[in-house]
Amino acid sequence: MSKTIHEINEKIKAGKAIVVTAEEVIGMVEENGYKKTAETVDVVTTGTFGPMCSSGVFVNFGHSNPPIRMAKVTLNDVPAFAGLAAVDAYVGATEMSLKRGMEYGGAHVIEDFIAGKDIALHAESYGTDCYPRKEIDTYVNKDNVNQIYMFNPRNCYQNYAAATNSTGKTIYTYMGTLLPHYGNVTYSTAGELSPLLNDPEYRTVGLGTRIFLGGGVGYVAWEGTQHNPDRERTENGIPTLGAGTLALIGDLRGMSTEFIRAGVFQKYGITLYVGVGIPIPILDEEMLAKVAVKNKDIYTHIVDKSGKVDLDVLVNYEQLRSGQVELNGKKVSTAPLTSLIKSRIIADKLKSWILAKDFLLTEKVSDLPVHNKVNTLDIRG
């Protein structure tokens, strides 16, 4: 028996759709089997809330009188990219404050915009015949600008290597603080609840898919940068390293600071915690089998983030979640970096939107690539 997205949407509109989260569906399958659960369940919701550096926001500030062709822009002393039309700019999450350095950056500007705060805008220009103004200082907020939308070139990494440190010194990385002599292992995933681990071959998720983004509604805009679907996969189709990625877009005005937060990794830099939830339509038993995946069947590699030792340790997320894994014959503590409780709240929220008929599923407009070559940057002289 199979269902179409159109049929599922009709059930949602009629208030008859059965929607569960990617964690809840596991128990249903255990109780009722794949066939019966596939017939019952219409939509499975996923969620993740982790640090996603490749994120940012486009803003159009509106024109002043006399107008300015902004060439250099800062927001709360954080430089924004202004190499666009006169009053367009892009605030990148990892950009650092000119005055406060790593303590405050693009991610904090984004969080402050969402919170509705006034942001100090400073812009400079060389002046043109049509844009004579050379400097401007004012305040902007999400309500007095024209457009303000998030566009994240790479979110939702399908999987990610766990990290450790072989050296004798603590190292500070985007995977957190890694203690000397394999003193700890950090990992970043929502595991069995994570969006692309529930649709590992991108059967339903594609360009145009409507999603939960940062507390509001967003869309899959494109494949994410470094999208690498050709990674090694286990029998269930799940990659054992970072594979697929998504470029996401969504109106910042619908977002909440509950689901978008700025963060700073010590001695590494600024990042943005992004909350993403993707609904998976249960088209048939095969799709159900994918969303019923468990942590023990999702594997990742542990890598040495100092780059000194070529570790090749394969572990599953049930082991990582247990708090300890075995590494070189010793027990090593593990620590998560993705908030699982927030990921659960996101999957639950998306579920409640669908049940309230506020959110309908979309057919993808086009497929994500299932093959892709990822290049390295060669140094040419």
Partner: protein
């Protein structure tokens, strides 16, 4: 009986007396070493819980001072701004005592103040800036409200 948490700071040339022996034998104290960083010819640091009769504790600290060892009672403590916390777990990667841990059912962060050594590693590690010392500013506040 009274319990205090104290840091001893040894001068680089060390001490002549076996400190823990005297604290136990002469002052009848129960002690628990929480953190020690002592090496030859360097300023050393020893963090301990001391438990005993109040007057004996006082006498012990007086004696310690006479040996040329500086001490500092813990007045500050690590505080957790739970409301702003996202419960990611990054702090649990560095906490040496297990004071910070994840609840394996709810995946909420748990903070057991009793186990805290006040090493302050979590304060620097927390990406959200929600760990602090009481008395200090807890997190990066909004840019304009300063």
């Amino acid at each position: 009986m009274k319990k205090i948490k104290v840091t001893f700071e040894f001068p680089p040339n060390g001490i002549k007396q076996p400190l823990t022996y005297h604290l136990i034998k002469d002052f009848d104290l129960m002690l628990n070493i929480l953190n020690a960083d002592v090496s030859l010819n360097r300023t050393g640091r020893l963090v301990m819980d001391l438990q005993g009769e109040e007057e004996k504790l006082e006498a012990a600290l007086k004696w310690v001072e006479e040996q040329g060892i500086a001490f500092k009672l813990f007045e500050k403590e690590v505080i957790w701004n739970e409301e702003k916390c996202i419960h990611c777990g990054a702090c649990t990667a560095v906490c040496p005592s297990g004071a910070l841990s994840m609840d394996d059912k709810t995946w909420n962060l748990k903070f057991d103040q009793e186990k805290c050594l006040i090493c302050e590693l979590c304060i620097k590690t927390c990406p959200l800036g929600v760990m602090g010392l009481n008395g200090d500013s807890l997190f990066i506040d909004s840019y304009r409200s300063e």
